[in-house]
């Protein structure tokens, strides 16, 4: 009880009354995103449905093809993100536990260089030295999102006010209890923000997976371009953009729902 008070007085969020919190939850953007996506997809459908398609366009602008590519895209995105969550968050916790400043500095430096690496270069390099296909794309996605999530976990844990962990220890908590009951809940917003970024990012990188024969909606874009069928290209680009917006929207809701109440 005492601890909860200490924590709440430390965060400004505690000062927001429930009504204001609800108003913030249903922000204009929160409400508008699904509506805009639905309108855009409906417009795309009407545009394509009222178009006379030649045989080349018919091969890609049909439900079976589009649903197959969408499924490939979503599988790639979610499997990669789930693997990243399972691997990078524990790694981040371990890395932030370490006493060695050198190791921590090295991880942050590598994470920064990793961010400067172009996704397209990384995925193509991996395809050249290993093989093309779905597995390569998956590994590239995981390796690429691993460092940002790990770094966010470390940053989230390190930015916690030392007074808070100290009072927790003063109350007789063991280091593990401090980690699980104090530090991790306080770091959740930062960790979730990292996961959200990596999720949206995975949708984007999964688009270029088409270059190494890993399927996904990038196929539609590239086919449309190669065969000079712009409706195919536009349909692929619009659908993948809508997926990115929807996933970002879902992740933002998850962020709000999963955030511990006091934070």
């Amino acid at each position: 009880m005492t601890l909860a008070v200490v924590l709440e007085s430390d965060t400004t969020a505690a000062l927001v009354d429930p009504q204001a919190r609800r108003a913030r939850f249903w922000s204009p953007r929160r409400v508008a995103t699904p509506i805009v996506v639905a309108v855009v997809l409906l417009a795309l459908y009407l545009w394509v449905a009222n178009m006379t398609l030649d045989s080349i366009m018919q091969r890609t602008l049909n439900w079976d093809y589009i649903l197959l590519r969408t499924r490939e895209h979503l599988v790639l995105t979610f499997v990669a993100s789930a693997l990243v969550a399972v691997l990078a968050i524990p790694a981040g916790i371990v890395a932030s536990r370490t006493r060695s400043r050198v190791l921590r500095g090295a991880i942050l430096t590598i994470a920064n260089i990793g961010q400067a690496t172009p996704a397209i270069g990384f995925i193509i390099l991996l395809a050249i030295i290993w093989q093309i296909g779905f597995q390569t794309a998956l590994i590239a996605l995981v390796a690429y999102s691993f460092l940002p999530v790990l770094r966010n976990t470390m940053v989230g844990l390190s930015q916690i006010d030392a007074h808070v962990t100290e009072s927790a220890r003063g109350m007789g908590m063991t280091p593990n209890q401090v980690l699980l009951r104090i530090e991790l809940p306080l770091a959740v917003p930062v960790i979730l923000a990292g996961l959200r970024t990596s999720l949206v990012f995975c949708v984007g990188v999964a688009t270029v997976a088409t270059f190494i024969n890993a399927g996904g909606l990038g196929d539609m874009i590239v086919n449309g371009l190669k065969l000079q069928r712009f409706p195919v290209l536009i349909a692929g680009a619009v659908i993948v953009s809508c997926i990115a917006l929807l996933i970002d929207w879902l992740a933002s809701i998850a962020e709000d729902v999963l955030r511990p109440k006091g934070v």
Binding site: P28, R29, I113, Q115, A116, T117, P118, A119, I120, G121, F122, I124, L125, A127, I128, I129, W130, Q131, I132, V200, V203, G204, T207, V208, F211, I212, G218, I221, G224, L225, F230, L233, I234, G236, A237, V238, V240, S241, A244, L245, D248
Partner: protein, 221 residues
């Protein structure tokens, strides 16, 4: 499966250094032009909306939506309008740069302490003068940080621009892909990728200097 051969890579660099250097130059140029355009537009929009809640959230939200769109999709969707080449890359990079620049401009302008603005007003300055002569210089370091973030972002995205006929090191990466199986495939892709990383790190360093010399003298630490 292609093995790595350092002497082969060095020979590759020795033979093609002209190509590599001109691609690096193109890459820098397209990023620099996009950043310049985005800075003009982004700071302009920021100056217009910083004090208007509706306009502010509209500007930041639309820029955030653009950033959510996968880069291949945005770049490819512009081909029917602008054709292949520099134009779609340039426009795409400019659009992607807007979010960090607008957001940082708005944050920077709003962070100026009300006491300072009050004293400027007391000295007889009109609101536009306060905005341009007091707030903008004080917000400048924050704005440059936004441009710096945009630079990191666009240097990477520009590599994908090569697919829509854009300039720069992405051409080497895609050449590596299209020569998959040949002995130079790895050299092409590795040169392109390393080039982008080095470029990103150098530009990041440059921004430290840019921030220092474009910040108003009174604010320099």
């Amino acid at each position: 499966m292609t093995g790595f051969d350092l002497s082969g890579l060095l020979a590759f660099w020795a033979k093609r250094h002209d190509d590599i250097l001109s691609l690096i130059g193109e890459h820098l140029l397209v990023v620099a032009i996009a950043l310049l355009l985005a800075t003009i537009v982004g700071v302009g929009v920021g100056l217009l909306v910083w004090n208007r809640p509706v306009g502010r959230s509209l500007a930041v939200t639309s820029a955030a939506v653009v950033l959510t769109i996968p880069s291949l999709a945005l770049l490819a969707a512009m081909i029917p309008l602008f054709g292949l080449g520099w134009t779609p890359t340039l426009i795409g990079l400019t659009l992607y740069s807007l979010l960090p620049i607008i957001r940082n401009t708005v944050v920077g302008l709003r962070e100026v302490s009300p006491a300072i603005m009050e004293s400027a007003k007391g000295m007889g300055m009109s609101p536009p003068t306060v905005l341009l002569r007091i707030q903008l210089p004080m917000a400048w370091p924050v704005i440059v940080t936004g441009v710096r973030v945009a630079a990191q972002l666009t240097i990477g995205i520009a590599a994908i621009g090569a697919y829509v006929g854009g300039p720069g090191l992405g051409q080497m990466i895609f050449q590596g892909l299209s020569s998959l199986g040949s002995k130079n495939a790895l050299n092409f892709a590795l040169t392109g990728t390393l080039g982008v990383i080095v470029l990103a790190l150098i530009v990041d360093g440059l921004f430290t200097i840019i921030t220092k010399y474009t910040t108003s003298k009174g604010l320099r630490a």
